[in-house]
């Protein structure tokens, strides 16, 4: 009798440089170390039944990764998934889980939007927050905003605006409290064509602003007017954080 679980997990620190391709074998080996009764696919080369709804760009941090695991036998989820979390590499942790009832909607259908966070180094913070705040306001007021995405297989024009649900720019303290840095948070729809933070930045400030020091996928779920409802836990994640200093 197989049972399915969905987990929300993080990919922080060093593990954010792991590619989507390598991620599967990391999970499969961790599951074997935790001695969990994972189900295997049929065929010449059986694979553990662990699926990930979408790939995160290499280098991006996340507290909003998800996975679906199918076990061949019942597990004691609290203990067993804690053991799995402990044996995953440092930076990868299982944050929440839910058992999947028969007939539940597909995981991908619950992940309709993503809350992204982009953090800059503590350089030119006041000017940066002001510029980004102004551009965000302009974008939110418009109905379309096209950008060209350059790829090895050719250029492609995309309209970024339909994917944008909400945007917020703020100046907050650096982790050591000694300086100030700019943070941009954005809720973007996951529907095709997928708009990534890199596309959003091109639309907002192409060539005028340096790359952020860190990009993080905070959570995924169902978008609301001012944030999103996280897919597994159901908490409301606000696009504006309480340290917001409203931009002009």
């Amino acid at each position: 009798m197989s049972v399915r679980y969905r987990v929300r997990w993080s990919k922080e620190g060093r593990t954010r440089f792991v590619s989507a391709r390598d991620q599967s074998s990391i999970w499969e080996r961790a599951i074997r170390r935790a001695d969990l009764p994972i189900a295997y696919s049929e065929g010449f080369t059986p694979h553990a039944r662990v699926s990930f709804p979408d790939a995160l760009p290499v280098g991006v941090a996340s507290t909003g990764e998800y996975a679906e695991l199918t076990f061949a036998a019942p597990i004691r989820a609290d203990d067993d998934l804690a053991r799995l979390s402990a044996t995953l590499p440092e930076g990868m942790d299982i944050l929440t889980y839910t058992e999947v009832p028969a007939g539940a909607p597909k995981l991908a259908s619950l992940l309709r939007a993503t809350l992204w966070e982009l953090v800059w180094p503590p350089v030119d913070t006041t000017a940066l927050t002001t510029l980004l705040g102004r551009r965000c306001a302009t974008m939110l007021a418009a109905t379309s905003h096209e950008v060209v995405r350059h790829r090895h297989d050719g250029d492609r024009t995309l309209d970024v605006r339909p994917a944008v649900v909400s945007l917020a720019v703020a100046t907050g303290p650096t982790p050591d409290g000694a300086g100030a840095r700019t943070t941009l948070r954005a809720v973007l729809r996951n529907d095709a064509p997928t708009i990534r933070p890199a596309d959003l930045l091109v639309a907002l400030c192409d060539g005028e602003v340096a790359s952020p020091a860190l990009v993080r996928r905070v959570a995924q779920g169902v978008p609301t007017a001012d944030g999103l409802v996280e897919a597994l836990g159901g908490e409301l994640e606000m696009v504006r954080t309480d340290v917001v200093v409203e931009a002009a």
Binding site: F17, S19, D22, T45, V58, P89
Partner: protein
């Protein structure tokens, strides 16, 4: 541009030499600066960034301040190639098992990252804490072959350490090399502080003791090197001097200080059971060339293949007990989560209890996704039987055999004792038992080789292909043909190496002969690839000038197709007066002093010469595991009984005689190698 960090170069990571020594202190020394913060922003721009972050399962992280001797273990190639290396993993576990010793790992950054590191002043770093090379006490580099030499120089330079040992002082790490290429370290002599020959398990602890004492007693660098030279198996090139005759030949390499051995011996671990490592193997977070849990089931090989340096310098054979192999595999699979298990050695099917080992592991993992594999050089039906046992779950795709040469005469020259009849019978057995694809390994450019011998490779391939077709139209044969490179400490150390042009001609001959057979695939290496390897393998200390110049001209990753460096090397040889033909394409005579004659692999030079004469007259020599001792010179002085598994009183269990079965329970027990060779024959199992 808003938000841009403009001062990209950080001097903190490569401080002036005077500021470094504080981090080199004993217990309580402050941790040197980590490169991680400066490195991380670069990683999204480079290929395969996960290779630079560490953080793997079973990585060991110890406090800098809690250690008084700190090692950086290095494989001088990419993480992808170097991470699976067993030598590094063994030493990592042994050194980190000491109370106040710390060992971290380092690999060569790919060209894209190196460029960015140089721009920003980021030194060669460790994966555990991203600490700079210059802060460690010992930089220990394994050289499994000669194509990492330029990378070694580059890693030193990138790490803020002078690449010439004479320019290093107390502020710099001791630079050690080990591994097979350390048996002729002369082309690296000006760059390394010491070469360690042979098994590393024991000697690494003795070196650790010497370094600890030197730090405690405040020894100068020269005093420390002299102390290291007193450790058995450690060769300090600066304390030896090569002398040349008027015609440019070597006359002798002599110690230049008193009390040094004229012949530096290699180290041999006598009982592998005392060193059951590596147990807690690193589980990589990104793709590597071998992703499996590996257990070395024995060390050494006495088959006596005359081209094989590994088989000559790792003698004698020392086996691990079957129950230890079983325990290491079971613990290792549970601990790492690897799906594949590799039973490693130079020819794993020769373990005296390989049948029982394979059967027990087959039983343990039957019905699971865990798969087993072993490298084997044997060409006989037993190899098929064994492979069947290891693939009970039914994945019988490809099987590899290494006849190494095409004609019977040529195989007698290289002492690869297999007849064409055996090989064809083996192919017959394999294809009839469901194997779809046979890969055959050969070499061209072997001593005494004629075009007839080369053509015999194609003919053998065609004969095997005919057998393949009778068992299935889609069955395949691959011929993999490499160019032979003569290596030190082998009977072929006196032989001339073929030029790349000659190798090219021989490969074309094979290609021409098989052209009408679509099911035969020919895989070859670029013959030019063996040129650098051959020069460095048998080079003397004068070749070091070419190594240094080639590196300065930009040579790195000499073993990679993506990085063609041969033109740089040719220029470097020109500029430094190193004549390739003299080093590589010249046959040596009996009286010639060789650059590694003062380094003792255990083999008597007289015996090697005799074996070379036997080779030239196609006289074969049996494996001493199942025939009388032929006095190669290795065993005297070692306190061990040569493991053969069938002598009275031998440690290992001998299975009752039984025919070689197909695996499953009905087939009975697999024979031990002793039974297969009981008559002194190497003809394998016939039924």
């Amino acid at each position: 541009m808003l938000g841009a960090v403009t001062d990209v170069r950080s001097d903190a990571l490569l401080p002036a030499r005077a500021q470094r020594s504080v981090h080199r202190g004993g217990l309580g020394a402050p941790t040197p600066p980590s490169v991680l913060d400066v490195l991380e922003p670069l990683l999204p721009e480079v290929r395969k960034p996960a290779q630079y972050v560490g953080g793997e399962h079973n990585m060991v992280t110890r406090d800098w301040a809690a250690a008084d001797v700190r090692w950086l273990l290095c494989y001088p190639d990419t993480y992808e190639v170097g991470q699976p290396n067993q030598g590094i993993q063994i030493l990592y576990e042994i050194l980190n098992g000491r109370a106040t010793t710390l060992a971290e790992r380092s690999y060569a950054p790919w060209l894209d990252l190196e460029e960015r590191m140089r721009e920003r002043g980021i030194p060669t770093f460790s994966l555990e804490h991203h600490l700079p090379l210059w802060a460690f006490d010992v930089f220990a580099v394994t050289l499994p072959h000669e194509l990492g030499h330029t990378n070694l120089l580059n890693l030193l330079d990138l790490g803020g350490v002078p690449h010439r040992s004479a320019l290093r002082d107390e502020a710099d790490p001791i630079v050690l090399v080990g591994g097979h290429a350390a048996f002729n370290p002369e082309p690296l002599a000006p760059f390394i502080d010491a070469a360690v020959m042979g098994d590393g398990e024991e000697v690494v602890l003795e070196i650790d003791d010497v370094v600890r004492a030197a730090k405690r007693d405040g020894l100068t660098r020269a005093e420390l090197l002299r102390a290291l030279a007193d450790v058995e198996g450690v060769y300090v090139p600066a304390l030896y001097e090569p002398r040349y005759t008027d015609d440019g030949r070597l006359s002798r390499t002599v110690p230049v200080a008193t009390g040094l051995p004229t012949l530096v011996p290699k180290r041999t671990v006598q009982d592998l059971e005392e060193w059951p490592y590596p147990q807690r193997q690193i589980v990589p977070m990104t793709e590597t060339v071998h992703e499996r849990f590996s257990v070395e089931i024995f060390r050494g090989c006495t088959r006596g293949c005359r081209f094989c340096q590994a088989g000559m310098i790792t003698r004698p054979v020392r086996e691990r007990r079957p129950e230890t192999v079983q325990r290491l595999v079971e613990q290792g699979v549970a601990d790492t989560g690897f799906e594949e298990v590799g039973l490693l050695s130079l020819s794993s099917a020769d373990h005296s209890a390989i049948g029982p080992i394979a059967r027990a592991l087959g039983d343990t993992y039957e019905g699971t996704v865990t798969s087993l594999s072993l490298p084997s050089t044997r060409v006989d039906a037993f190899n098929v039987t064994l492979s069947n046992e290891l693939t009970r779950n039914g994945r019988r795709s490809g099987l590899t055999f290494a006849p190494e040469a095409g004609s019977e005469r040529m195989r007698a020259v290289i002492n690869k004792m297999v007849s064409e009849e055996d090989l064809l019978r083996t192919a017959q057995v394999a294809y009839s038992q469901g194997w779809r694809h046979i890969k055959l390994y050969f070499m061209v450019g072997l001593p005494t080789e004629t075009d007839e011998d080369v053509a015999a490779i194609a003919e053998l391939g065609i004969a095997v292909y005919r057998i393949a077709r009778t068992h299935g139209k889609a069955n395949k044969v691959t011929l993999s043909v490499g160019g032979f490179v003569p290596k030190p400490h082998t009977p072929f150390q006196w032989a001339a190496q073929d030029t790349p042009e000659e190798l090219q001609r021989k490969l074309a001959l094979i290609r021409q002969l098989i052209r009408t057979h679509d099911g035969i695939k020919l895989r070859t290496n670029d013959p030019e690839e063996g040129v650098i390897e051959g020069l460095l393998a048998r080079g003397d200390r004068r070749v070091a000038a070419a190594v240094e110049r080639a590196w300065q001209l930009g040579a790195r990753f000499d073993g990679w197709h993506e990085v063609p460096t041969l033109d740089l090397w040719r220029r470097a040889m020109d500029e430094t007066g190193v004549e390739l033909a003299w080093y590589s394409q010249r046959e040596r005579d009996e009286d010639e002093v060789l650059p590694w004659d003062h380094l003792d692999s255990g083999l008597e030079k007289g015996w090697l010469w005799e074996d070379w004469q036997d080779a030239r007259t196609a006289v074969q020599l049996d494996d001493c595991r199942w025939s009388p001792c032929y006095d190669c010179g290795v065993c005297p002085g070692l306190d061990l009984v040569h493991d053969t598994g069938y002598q009275p009183g031998a440690l290992l269990p001998v299975m009752p005689s039984a025919p070689a079965g197909l695996g499953g329970p009905a087939a009975g027990s697999l024979p031990t190698s002793a039974e297969r060779y009981a008559a002194g024959s190497t003809r394998g199992v016939t039924r």
